[in-house]
Symmetry: C2
Subunit: 215 residues, 2 copies
Amino acid sequence: MEKFKGLDEEKQQKILDAALMEFAEHGYEKASTNRIVKEAGIGKGMLFYYFKSKKDLYEFLAEYSLDFVVEKYFSRIDMTEADFIERLKHTSQVKFEAQTENKNVFNFLGTFMLTADFKLAPHIQKKYEAMQKTGNAMIYENVDLSLFRDDVDVQKAFKLIRWSIEGYQNELLHKLQGQSMTSIDFNPYWEEFYEYLEILKKSFYKKGSGIDDYS
Amino acid sequence: MEKFKGLDEEKQQKILDAALMEFAEHGYEKASTNRIVKEAGIGKGMLFYYFKSKKDLYEFLAEYSLDFVVEKYFSRIDMTEADFIERLKHTSQVKFEAQTENKNVFNFLGTFMLTADFKLAPHIQKKYEAMQKTGNAMIYENVDLSLFRDDVDVQKAFKLIRWSIEGYQNELLHKLQGQSMTSIDFNPYWEEFYEYLEILKKSFYKKGSGIDDYS
DNA sequence: AGCCTGTCGACCAGGGTGGTCAATATTAAT
DNA sequence: ATTAATATTGACCACCCTGGTCGACAGGCT
């Protein structure tokens, strides 16, 4: 594993990408080290020279991914924005940038969280839990509740808004599946997304909150 | 396959359940006929006596599931309810009943739709597309648009409402995962669900629409 | 020359695959 | 009771893939 860190960046990244993709697609058990080495363009032996076992590799990836998400996503969120929906808008943008920088990490963490079946090394488990905790704070902490209508339960409004945003993102993902990320002009989709957010504001905020659009 | 239909209901159902579960959990490729026969409590040979191949079995299950959904779910939806949210409420209830009657069918169709990779027999493909079409009509057709606020795009409101409902259902599913369906008292969850629906009405409907709650 | 460090891929034992088939057990027909 | 037809089984097949090992070899350094 120290051996691995001595490689040139490029080769490291190629192996990381291959492994992240394989685990993301098949989960831990059904992921194949053979496919990983083929995809990474290295000999079988090297993988077990760098990492002493499949599990060792997996845990390395987990830690790597968690660190990546914290550094390139969580730490870049502006928590001074007190408008809940604006905050989520900003969060979506930062997340998108991080995803563009390394799509595989997010895919990996997706299946990692779903199939976190076996026992991880404790320090990774801890990092994982810390990430979940800060991820939550990042969204809910320090938001201005006074923007919300008085006649709805704010906690429920939170959830409805999050579900709506997740719904849009899932639909978009599904619609664009198969197209290469680089060939897509995302601007119209961002516009559409903002329109949904405006509707959410109209629906869940008090009348007169924020900037009204008198077009 | 005619052989299969000659079996007593009970045995048929046991085999169907075993197979549906296996495919639901692992998808077509990674599903194991060995596990199916073990779970169903029959000899390996019988499976290939009833169905001539794994693929044959899979297509039979697909058709069976589609028929089940149409008969026990779609055909029971009351399309005269013009209130969009009330219709979705009613739809959720009917779906829940159908799911209670045969959970495996819905799980199977879930992964079936996601991983509909290889070419199905054309008549099944047709049934599948017809199901999607009527599923859509079932939700959107003949709804009273005048209930919605004038200042939001109704099409977008439709989507936001659906995403919200899906979000609630997913969260509930996740929260209850692992518990046996029969041991759960669902009433409080229905109550909670209705509260969310009321918020959606307050948010997306005109003031004064429907029955107001003057508590 | 030796020695260290990388690198490879053939190879291993083990396990799982969909599918077959000779051997039975069961039932029906005569 | 005998035969014929039908159900049912599980050992077996050839094949594929698994995580991991290890001898061979390459190149740089001393």
